[in-house]
């Protein structure tokens, strides 16, 4: 082992895993034991071990979404011991390492719970509602070609930096899972803020926020009651200030826009 703690002892763990055969099937928690888990493993590598064991035993492996395993694609989405992406702050499930757990621990693993995110199977959920919210207005309406030079419009560094911070949302849905109302306000506000801050987004500023919020409501996400668990559990640190900005943008739009819809 080339890791930080070559003497760390392998762990034995009990896993309580949500199993659900399909969208309309009944689900339940099933207990599994995993042995000799290295503290250097990532959480998903620990699940790989479980799945290889299950496969060798002729059983159906646990379905879960994952891809880049470096915290940026937003695919992984596990609710671990009652928390989005588990116990470590600012970390996606794939970047959570087993050194954060101890030998003998029992770990409960569930999918995101929200009406707008129906379960596909086991721990995999359908987050296409997020795509539909972006389709409702999370863009600047420019076609390819015919745009001004990149340096024609200057943007103060602090504005560019704030837009960037908002734009780093990975669309994983941890905010929705963490919210008792299953609200998508943090996700929506991150995109609204990014484009409201940048001069390129100004032309459609009002219709964008109105349309995105309308789509959010249509998808069945809950209302925001300003508790802030979304921001506390966000793996990439999207700030609650974005929600304040969204509210401001929304009010201004409703008060002044010509959008009668």
């Amino acid at each position: 082992m080339a890791g930080s703690n070559p003497n760390a002892k392998p762990m034995n763990l009990t896993l309580n895993v949500w199993r659900q055969a399909g969208r309309h099937a009944e689900g339940k928690i099933v207990e599994y034991k995993v042995k000799d888990i290295s503290p250097e493993m990532s959480f998903l590598e620990m699940l790989d071990v479980l799945n290889e064991d299950l496969l060798h035993a002729g059983q159906d492996p646990v379905a879960f979404d994952h891809d880049c395993r470096e915290g940026i694609c937003g695919s992984c989405d596990l609710f671990i011991n009652g928390r989005s992406h588990g116990p470590e702050k600012g970390t996606t499930t794939c970047q959570l390492h087993m050194r954060k757990f101890s030998d003998g621990d029992t770990i409960t693993i569930e999918p995101w719970r929200a009406n707008a995110f129906p379960v596909n199977k086991d721990l995999s959920v359908d987050r296409s509602a997020f795509d539909r919210i972006i389709q409702a207005g999370g863009y600047v309406s420019v076609n390819t070609g015919g745009v001004p030079d990149g340096n024609d419009i200057t943007i103060p560094k602090e504005i560019a930096d704030r837009a960037f911070e908002a734009a780093t949302c990975i669309g994983c849905g941890a905010c929705v899972a963490a919210c008792k109302n299953a609200s998508a306000m943090l996700f929506v506000s991150a995109k609204v803020s990014q484009l409201a801050l940048l001069p390129q987004g100004h032309a459609e500023r009002k219709t964008r926020v109105e349309n995105m919020v309308a789509q959010m409501d249509k998808e069945g996400f809950g209302a925001c009651s300003n508790i802030g668990s979304c921001a506390a559990e966000c793996p990439v640190g999207i700030s609650l200030e974005n929600i304040a900005m969204l509210n401001r943008e929304f009010l201004v739009a409703k008060a002044t826009s010509n959008n009668l819809a």
Partner: protein, 644 residues
């Protein structure tokens, strides 16, 4: 078939302009009569799908992810090159062209690379207009940084998340067209075969990974933007789902596969820590702007480090060998990736590697931290440092990172002509999926550039030329070729489920990866390659009699998906070995131990190997046929690449 690259006549700088004028156009009213399938929604796919829809074509876009935004382009860290010369440091379209041709060790096409450099400037403008929040200077202008293989600052970036921001830009353009109804988006749909009708590409077969349903889709043209095949090595910096299946199926239907052995080993990745390791994580090349690469001066010191008798910070400055700065004073730590990787391996082979495995070198930030402070370093590389600490449990602000080379990118891919069309009429390949622009080694920050160049600024022109010569009759899936292809996919799924063997797809994948890394990785030789060929054939046979997949085909079955991908990797692996064996020279990422200079640098053989190797499928378990496209260089002089 004679390979016709269709490079336009005329001087290099005028080829693309002339070509754009000469290609046939589809009139605006007719565009809506054509359907185009785009497979993959990364940078190359999303940008192509959005741009084609904006022009008026009906686009169907496919991804096996739950959302287009998950594509692996999202993980690109460091930046995107463009010949803007905003820094007034001597950059130009020709210099970017020259650096890319030289960086690729003179195994790429001049005309393609020049076009890439030309459109690079438009990409930045486009992304800015979409609201991509690039890094900026205090005056509000765009910021740049340096990358390997260049002596100018031409890399645009968004902290260490450039790929994410560019992909979200392309995804937003795509989403806009989905809302307009010009793109029909199929998520969780994996392409499992290409459908040909009368010798041209006419559609694809997909499997809905949630329901297991096998579906046919028809179009007038098909664009593959399905990424690279680095996961043939099992361990790589690629995302777990990245695979070669779409490209490989197209290959088996007649698309030539070019330069499969040209794979890029990235020098700065977090080293392997154990057998359970599922992937390797890249530490962006941008870190080599400020990080200094070193190992201890002596084997004895390295041994004591490995045993834990001394700590890295105990090693005196005089006992450190900054080997890249020593050997390549002109480029220092910013030599191209292949050179940096090979040197790291050489240090470890000499016994001077660090970490408990001895398969790592240091990347040290002490000097820059002293110069601009930890806060300043955090501004530049904060997310990378945090990621390193999460994975290794070590704090790179206090001790150097340990890094080791890992498979990162594949320069090889489907052979395409200047129009990005494969050897199958109506089938196009863009981005990492094709072979076209990087020769034998890709320079840093050029993958994002190529993906977006292909999608935004090349394919919208070149595909029109093909469609204009295709009748605008509606297409459907009634032709027997669709039923046949669908039946083939179904039969294969059933076959995989019926084997009920003892070994899992991952076990086979790891075994294949081990063979590839050992014999077709950073250094290759004829004897090892021949051995690898036999081993892969044996493994492939075992796979088809002993793989274990449980469950059914009519549900979300991730083991089944994996098994199908591994089966294709087991075929591709052998072709890579054949290609490496046939190329009796060293160039870029292809280092044949038999062919090196006295200083251990790659020794090219321009007389005999200045060609693109385009492999033609001949049937199951038959040796593939090698076709050669000769490369001619009229604007650069072929020289021994020197970064000293």
């Amino acid at each position: 078939m004679l390979l016709d690259s269709k490079i336009p006549e005329g001087p290099l700088a005028e080829k693309w302009e002339k070509h754009k004028f000469n290609v046939k156009l589809v009139n605006p009213a007719n565009k809506r009569k054509y359907d185009v399938i785009v497979v993959g929604t990364g940078l190359a796919g999303s940008s192509a799908a959005a741009s084609l829809a904006e022009l008026g074509y009906n686009v169907k876009a496919f991804t096996y992810h739950d959302s287009p935004r998950r594509a692996h382009s999202i993980a690109a860290q460091g930046g995107i090159n463009a010949a803007k010369n905003y820094q007034n440091d001597g950059d130009s379209v020709f210099r970017l062209f020259y650096d890319t041709i030289k960086g690729g060790d003179y195994r790429a096409r001049e005309a393609n690379v020049y076009r890439l450099a030309q459109v690079s400037v438009n990409i930045i403008d486009q992304c800015v207009a979409q609201g991509v929040p690039f890094a900026r200077e205090y005056g509000g202008l765009l910021a740049n940084r340096s990358f390997g293989g260049a002596q100018v600052s031409r890399t645009f970036y968004a902290r260490g998340q450039t790929g994410q921001q560019l992909l979200l830009g392309a995804y937003s353009a795509l989403s806009r067209q989905v809302a307009y109804g010009k793109v029909k988006l199929y998520t969780r749909s994996e392409m499992l075969d290409l459908v040909m009708v009368d010798g041209v590409a006419r559609g694809i077969v997909t499997r809905n990974v949630i329901t297991g349903e096998i579906e046919n889709h028809a179009a007038h043209a098909v664009v593959l933007a399905t990424g690279g095949y680095g996961n043939v090595f099992y361990l790589s910096t690629n995302a777990k789902l990245c695979n070669v299946t779409a490209a490989w199926r197209a290959h088996k239907k007649g698309a030539y596969f070019a330069n499969p052995c040209f794979t890029q080993i990235h020098p700065t990745c977090i080293p392997v820590s154990g057998d359970y390791q599922s992937k390797l994580t890249l530490m962006s090349e941008s870190l080599r702007n400020d990080g200094r690469v070193w190992v201890p001066n002596t084997v004895e010191l390295a041994e004591r480090l490995r045993k834990g008798e001394i700590k890295v910070n105990d090693i005196a400055e005089a006992d450190r060998d900054y080997f890249l700065e020593r050997k390549y004073p002109a480029f220092g730590n910013l030599v191209p990736r292949d050179v940096a990787s090979r040197n790291a391996k050489q240090m470890c082979d000499e016994g001077r590697g660090v970490g408990s495995t001895g398969l790592a070198v240091y990347l040290d930030f002490a000097e820059i931290i002293q110069r601009i402070g930890a806060d300043g370093v955090s501004q530049k590389y904060g997310n990378l440092f945090a990621m390193y600490e999460k994975i290794t449990g070590e704090d790179p602000y206090k001790m150097p990172m340990r890094i080791y080379p890992a498979v990162h990118y594949t320069m090889g891919g489907l052979w395409v002509d200047y129009n990005l069309q494969t050897t199958i009429p109506g089938l196009y390949a863009t981005g990492e999926c094709n072979f076209s622009d990087h020769g034998a080694n890709r320079l840093g920050a050029s993958a994002l550039m190529q993906g977006l160049a292909d999608g935004y600024f090349v394919i919208p022109y070149t595909i029109g030329d093909y469609l204009a010569q295709t009748a605008p009759k509606p297409v459907d899936t009634q032709h027997p070729a669709f039923a046949e292809a669908k039946a083939g996919v179904q039969a294969r799924t059933e076959q995989l489920l019926a084997i009920k063997g003892t070994r899992t797809p991952d076990q086979f994948h790891k075994a294949l990866g081990h063979i590839m890394w050992e014999y077709c990785g950073m250094a290759r030789n004829a004897e090892g390659l021949r051995h690898a060929k036999t081993e892969i054939q044996r493994l492939r046979k075992e796979f088809w009699s002993d793989v274990r997949v449980v469950g059914t085909g009519e549900e979300l079955n991730q083991t089944l998906e994996k098994a199908g991908r591994v089966a294709d990797f087991l075929e591709l692996g052998e072709l890579m070995v054949d290609d490496a064996l046939a190329r009796n020279e060293s160039c870029g990422g292809h280092f044949r131990e038999e062919y090196q200079t006295p200083e251990g640098e790659a020794l090219r053989d321009d007389e005999n190997f200045a060609y693109v190797a385009a492999w033609e499928y001949q049937g199951d378990n038959q040796p593939e046929k090698l076709n050669k496209e000769d490369l001619s260089f009229e604007n650069v002089k072929l020289t021994q690449r020197s970064y000293k």
